[in-house]
């Protein structure tokens, strides 16, 4: 299983995403100006401030050459995970429904939050613990999810844990087909006991397990 982690100018969580992915498989960095996805099995769009978040978070990154390849990869059913700024990029690229607005508090939030897995039947959550609770940090200013249309909710902030005022406590959504997933919390920052929680690992483990089921055991 090979992950590709996209690096835009202004990305800042790509190395943590790379390290997290390497706990369950191989992983390489994909440069924003390249169209070649190097034969990866899943793409991660990491957190950060791609292109300085100019205009709107994710609005410019959407036009990067690598995103053309990612859009085609997603259309063909490839797995795409967008974390934080990556979630914003996927919404701007219309690979996911909805948009991210400034937090209602207008403040940067940086804390551990409790999440509930609302949909464990996705390639990104199938290996989540049976109690469906995850403890994962958030760190963002523009995380208030909004969609005028009904969406497939994958993760919700547990009651009392919504850090940004998102609609229906939504923390993460996937597309209808279930192969593109975006979330505001940072699973890549919760993979080592040193940082207090390893719950984020279950997102990466889900992707790897699904890959094994699909390609190795098939």
């Amino acid at each position: 299983m090979k992950f590709g982690v996209v690096r835009f100018p202004g990305s800042c969580d790509e190395l943590d995403a790379l390290a997290a992915a390497r706990r369950v498989g191989e992983a390489v960095l994909l440069w924003h100006a390249e169209r070649d996805l190097q034969g990866v099995d899943a793409v991660i769009i990491p957190g950060g401030f791609s292109y300085g978040d100019y205009l709107r978070a994710g609005a410019i990154a959407r036009f990067a050459p690598v995103m053309e390849a990612v859009a085609e990869f997603a259309r063909d059913g490839g797995l795409v995970l967008g974390i934080c700024n990556g979630f914003q990029v996927l919404c701007e690229a219309r690979l996911l429904p909805g948009a991210l607005l400034p937090n209602t508090s207008l403040r940067f939030v940086f804390r551990q939050v409790e999440l509930e897995v609302a949909d464990a039947d996705t390639p990104f959550t199938c290996a989540c613990p049976p109690d469906r609770r995850l403890s994962i940090p958030v760190k963002h200013t523009t995380g208030r999810y909004f969609s005028p249309e009904p969406v497939r909710v994958v993760l919700r902030y547990a009651p009392g844990h919504n850090p940004n005022g998102s609609q229906d406590d939504i923390a993460g959504v996937c597309n209808e087909a279930g192969n593109v997933f975006g979330l505001m919390p940072h699973p890549e920052h919760a993979v080592d006991p040193l940082t207090g929680s390893t719950d984020g690992l279950s997102i990466f483990a889900s992707i790897a397990q699904g890959h094994v089921r699909q390609h190795v055991l098939a």
């Binding site: 205009l55 709107r56 609005a59 701007e92 909805g98 948009a99 607005l101 400034p102 937090n103 209602t104 508090s105 207008l106 208030r144 909004f146 969609s147 005028p148 005022g165």
Partner: protein, 76 residues
């Protein structure tokens, strides 16, 4: 043509920046202020103004959450 594109949060979408300013003004002694909203101003020279609506739909605004208004700048 010199154009101004005004981008605003769509009606019905919570605008915490507007609310914060609305609450701040009375603190300075200004009264009778309501419905404050904060958006973006984009100024640009365009050869073909007919392209402006598509520019707005595809990049300058996010039509899911924002509305836009195109104004010709005749001041110069």
């Amino acid at each position: 043509m010199r154009a101004r594109v005004l981008v605003r949060p769509k009606a019905g979408i919570l605008d915490p920046q507007g609310q914060a300013v609305e609450r701040a003004l009375p603190a300075l002694g200004f009264s009778g202020v309501a419905n404050v909203h904060i958006g973006r101003l984009i100024e640009l020279d365009v050869e073909d103004p007919g392209q402006l609506p598509r520019m707005c739909e595809q990049l300058l605004a996010n039509p899911l959450i924002e509305e836009y208004e195109i104004v010709e700048d005749t001041s110069r």
